[in-house]
């Protein structure tokens, strides 16, 4: 049955492609894609290797740093508070905004390696830290009753129980590393690599080849994801607690309110830290001041330099073009995800079918497929919206579907006893209960929305932040490149904090524990 539907879909695609029914040949038939791929078979290995090698190096380096950071944050909670601003900034960086900065400051493969490492840092760090902190409290008592301290608990318990989290992080990080390497090629003008290949082919307008490259990149990501998923499944099976963990009251009792002054100091430090690290890295590597801009340099460029007003006006205009589209794309993606996830719970089996597909599609370097979307939808606002929705929809859908799946069966049974219909169950129980997940989804996919908009602008429309960045790159306007990168991160982080604030208010109002 499934095989039949796949065959039917392929046949339909073939027909659409062969008769040029979509976008005047923008959708080539599967046979044409395969034929073109076969024709290009000699040049693919070099392109694949040029992307894979730095992605791999960045993946390893980024994950080692992330795991070490997670360990340090677990051992010294104050350090985690201090670095929170830096972590959120790393999370919020749209890779496309960082790419030109790296390309102008670093030689050779380094931009790809660093962007891959930056892309993997956050997911691995967060999931490892969660794995280290969120452990079964009962064996801790066993170890403590033999005089074991923090180090014994770390050694016998935490290091082992964080494995599933770490491996889960690697699973998310693997496709991210490949995407990072590809996006660094977008700005580098390098000869080899799938990103460079993609850009070159977009210029020549060769749909069959663009599709072939996009599908190759997808296959690479899926393989990396699958490999890490396989590793993770082995580890996870042996760590699941055997019985249900009792309520973790102790954890709350331990987290007593800290001294107010220390909290304020750490908060200020957390804001200052990203700037300090930015400045420190430039100083440490002695990057030429012609190219590099310190935080102070960006301030001068945007505020105190003679032509700062022009620069400011350019960026404000670009923001005015990019932000509404990012916001609209985000809202559309969230709405579609919510509707689809809730309908999925109404008709049993639908979510079970959709979720694995969504998890798989999430690993696709959809952003690298942007050129295909450009082919299909042209170079207007529609393309920007489609790219944005495409990169934000899947993670949002997965988060919301997970939230709906966590609604306790007893709560649903309770309203069923009074004869509630499916819709009533949904409105009275499921949707309110997954509110924390909806907020989390908004927060987590917001940077992706900005990334999607900027990619589309860079590749297709030429408007907005992405367009400004691409122009500045062409004109070697270093000040503007740094300024746009800074503004993109600032917007991303501001939005993240804003949603978090709303989330905390909402959850406090409904007395729901933080999600």
């Amino acid at each position: 049955m499934q095989a039949l539907s796949v065959l039917l879909a392929l046949a339909a695609w073939e027909a659409l492609g062969d008769w040029h029914l979509v976008g005047q040949g923008a959708l080539p038939s599967p046979s044409a894609i395969v034929a073109q791929w076969w024709q290009d078979r000699d040049i693919y290995p070099a392109h694949i290797w040029a992307t894979l090698q730095p992605a791999l190096i960045g993946f390893v380096a980024g994950n080692v740093i992330a795991a070490a950071a997670a360990l340090a944050f677990m051992l010294i909670p104050a350090l985690e508070r201090l670095m929170r601003g830096f972590n959120i900034a790393i999370f919020g960086i749209p890779p496309i905004a960082l790419s030109p900065v790296l390309v102008i400051t670093l030689p050779g493969q380094w931009p790809q390696i660093v962007l891959a490492a930056v892309s993997v840092y956050f997911p691995t760090m967060v999931m490892t830290l969660l794995g280290l902190q969120d452990i079964d409290p009962r064996p801790i008592d066993v170890i403590r009753s033999y005089g074991g301290g923090r180090i014994a608990v770390l050694h016998w318990l935490r290091l082992r129980s964080c494995l599933p989290g770490l491996l889960g992080g690697l699973r998310v990080a693997a496709p991210a590393a490949i995407l990072g390497a590809i996006l660094a090629e977008f700005g580098s003008g390098a000869r080899w690599g799938l990103g460079s290949f993609l850009l070159g082919s977009l210029g020549r307008g060769d749909p069959a080849r663009i599709w072939g490259i996009g599908l190759t990149a997808t296959a690479m990501s899926a393989a990396a994801y699958g490999l890490c998923a396989l590793l993770g499944r082995r580890a996870a099976a042996s760590v699941l607690a055997v019985t249900i963990t009792p309520a973790r009251i102790e954890a709350q009792a331990v987290a007593r309110g800290r001294a107010r002054t220390l909290r304020v100091l750490l908060g200020v430090g957390a804001v200052a830290m990203p700037f300090l690290i930015w400045w420190g890295v430039l100083k440490a590597f002695a990057v030429s001041p012609v190219i590099a801009r310190t935080p102070w340099g960006v301030w001068q460029y945007l505020v105190s330099a003679p032509d700062a007003a022009d620069a400011r006006a350019g960026i404000i205009q670009a923001l005015g073009q990019s932000l509404p589209l990012a916001g609209a794309g985000l809202l559309i993606a969230l709405a579609v995800a919510l509707v689809l996830a809730t309908t999925g719970t109404l008709w049993r089996g639908l979510n079970a079918a959709l979720l694995p597909a969504a998890v798989f599609l999430q690993t696709m370097p959809l952003v690298a497929l942007a050129p295909i979307i450009v082919l299909l939808f042209g170079r207007g606002i529609a393309t920007t919206l489609v790219v944005t929705v495409a990169v934000t929809f899947f993670p949002a859908f997965i988060t919301i579907a997970q939230g709906l799946a966590q609604v306790p069966a007893a709560s649903l049974d309770l309203v069923s006893v009074y004869g509630a219909s499916r819709w009533q169950k949904l409105l009275l129980v499921s949707v309110p209960m997954c509110l924390p997940y909806l907020c989390a989804a908004a927060r987590l996919v917001a940077p992706a929305a900005l990334l999607g908009v900027m990619i589309a602008e860079w590749l297709a429309t030429g408007y907005g932040l992405g367009g400004v960045l691409n122009t500045a790159r062409g004109e070697l306007d270093y000040g503007m490149i740094w300024a746009v990168a800074f503004i993109a991160v600032a917007v991303s982080v501001t939005f993240y904090q804003l949603v978090k604030l709303i989330e905390e208010r909402l959850l406090a109002r409904f007395r729901m524990a933080g999600g």
């Binding site: 079964d136 009962r138 008592d141 066993v142 170890i143 009753s145 005089g147 074991g148 607690a241 019985t243």
Partner: protein
């Protein structure tokens, strides 16, 4: 293991005027208020009482897992923390708290590793303990492959691996069904009589307390404290038939009367 050869000098437990408070919404709640209790070396004491009477808190203080706000807990004259580090304590919780990635044998060996003792030289002892709790053939099984009762028996074996002079148990059979619980009670008595560690058992079950203990300390709440201590006169080894004896039920009723009187007030 021959009982005479392995007899260890046991420690007594002295709890003096212990008070422990918790903050609930900026209000101070007494989990324990001015509680004193003495347990002779080699004795078996049951702590029984309604939820929230502080019996688990008391046990955790004796186990060195929590500190009293006021008062002292001493085991054989030393602090619980000192005793912990020497491996003198065996603690069993309501949950077996096994590490899911370790086999039965490795789980039993965990206390030795935490204490920095040799595991390889203890293999014989671990085999004996596995036999003692009746888990032969499951040495290399993981907790996920065992039933609830079997997991609890692994936990009991783990508490015995350091040859403790003090055994602290917090509702160790609370999650088991009545039938299994009874057979575990009989097994626990047998194990206890072999080694005679000074034992404190926290329980909800009046029958369990009367069957196992030399004396039953009945606790009350608001504030948490000991209302009355009742001696249990029955000879050891106590046989399963005791559960049906009239004098057993009379004692149960006596304890129940104290419990419900405390709850009514």
């Amino acid at each position: 293991m021959s009982s005479a050869a392995l007899k260890v000098p046991t420690d007594d437990i002295r709890i003096c005027a212990v008070t422990r408070t918790f903050a609930v919404d900026a209000r101070q709640v007494f989990a324990l208020r001015d509680v004193s209790l003495g347990c002779e070396a080699g004795s078996f004491t049951a702590l029984i009482g309604p939820s929230g009477c502080g019996k688990s808190t008391l046990l955790r203080i004796i186990a060195g897992l929590e500190h009293p706000d006021e008062g002292t807990a001493r085991i054989g004259g030393a602090t619980p923390q000192q005793k912990c580090r020497s491996g003198a304590l065996g603690v069993a919780f309501q949950d077996p708290a096994l590490l899911p990635w370790r086999t039965v044998r490795q789980n039993i060996a965990l206390p030795l590793q935490v204490l920095g003792r040799s595991v390889s030289s203890a293999q014989g002892l671990i085999d004996q303990l596995i036999q003692l709790v009746g888990l032969q053939g499951f040495e290399n099984a993981r907790p996920g492959q065992l039933s609830g009762g079997m997991r609890q028996r692994v936990a009991i074996a783990r508490t015995l691996v350091t040859d403790p002079s003090v055994l602290l148990m917090d509702e160790p059979f609370g999650a088991l069904d009545q039938i299994l619980r009874r057979s575990m009670n009989i097994e626990l008595q047998r194990i206890w009589m072999e080694k005679r560690p000074t034992t404190i058992l926290v329980t909800h079950g009046i029958d369990e307390a009367v069957f196992l203990a030399d004396r039953v300390a009945i606790m009350q709440r608001n504030p948490g404290g000991i209302a009355q201590v009742i001696e249990v006169p029955f000879e050891r080894p106590r046989r399963p038939e005791l559960f049906a004896a009239p004098e057993f039920h009379r004692l149960e009723d006596e304890i129940a009367a104290v419990l419900y009187a405390g709850m009514a007030s």
